[in-house]
């Protein structure tokens, strides 16, 4: 596989406490996360916050400099995904089943965007998540997210 990087499972061995800062060194620095250059900001028992710096090539509309919506989706996808492992305390293979984003306002030109993902419920197979994106003040969100992840066991497709 041309773009193969170590699988997450190999850097988060079973029985090891899940460390979102460490895992983001892979999820946020290789592949699509690397393209967006996602940075680890902080975490709690059931949440992880990541951030992406504004960049000219991430813009949806060159006239306004507003970030492409999909940049927010990717940010919320990674943050909510990592919130599940953080709540669980360990890595488990999973894929996004669905994700919804409501845009309260655009993310303005030049502004760093933060995404906080929260896992509010976990079952054996499903992780229920929500979250929000902001530009530095969590009390002024720009988007809300909600979604579900499904555990895929050892199956990889």
């Amino acid at each position: 596989m041309a773009f193969g990087k170590p699988d997450l499972g190999s850097i988060v061995p079973k029985g090891t406490e899940f460390d979102p800062a460490l895992v983001n060194k892979m999820m946020g620095k290789f592949g699509h996360g690397g393209f967006l250059d996602m940075e680890y900001v902080g975490h709690g028992a059931d949440w992880v916050e990541l951030a992406i710096d504004w960049r000219e090539d991430l813009v949806a509309d060159p006239d306004t400099g507003i970030l492409a919506s999909a940049v927010i989706i990717s940010l919320m996808d990674n943050a909510t995904s990592m919130s599940i492992w953080t709540k669980l305390g360990e890595f488990r293979p999973q894929v996004t089943m669905d994700l919804r984003i409501d845009y309260l306002r655009p993310s303005p030109s030049g502004e760093r965007v933060y995404g906080r993902g929260i896992c509010y419920h976990l079952t054996n197979s499903i992780g229920f998540v929500r979250g929000f994106a902001h530009n530095g003040n969590p009390d002024e969100p720009l988007a809300h997210a909600s979604g579900t992840f499904i555990r895929i066991g050892d199956r990889i497709s």
């Binding site: 773009f3 699509h32 090539d57 060159p62 492409a68 919506s69 409501d102």
Partner: protein, 138 residues
Amino acid sequence: MTDSPIALPPYAQALDMTIVDEIDGVPVIGMPFADRVQGRPGYLHGGAISGLLEIAAIAAVHRALQAKGSDSAIKQVNVTVDFMRGGLSQMTFAVGEVTRLGRTMANVEARAWQDDRDKPIAMGHMHYLIKAKREDAA
């Protein structure tokens, strides 16, 4: 193409998206596999698939507005993406369908696929606000 060509936004260009075809007059957007769109090893990142769906959806709305002779701008209200299959390390396509175009909003469905259009890897469901011409907008 019969209408004026659509310039893809910087985000789409950065991910190497191009208009590869048309289905019923609506642009089909293609995105080649590369490290910059990869999630877990060997598979597309859900965010990159979502990006492709959104570019296809926006292109479809612009085309529908053009067909009505409208030069309105659009503003995204929300998006829901269902991920059905892992996106493999190959070319991915997407096309949008404007299911309703009103005066104030547009409902759009977008589909992304790889080998077989009848086996989508993801579907997007979007709402866009139709705004007056940009220079008139607040």
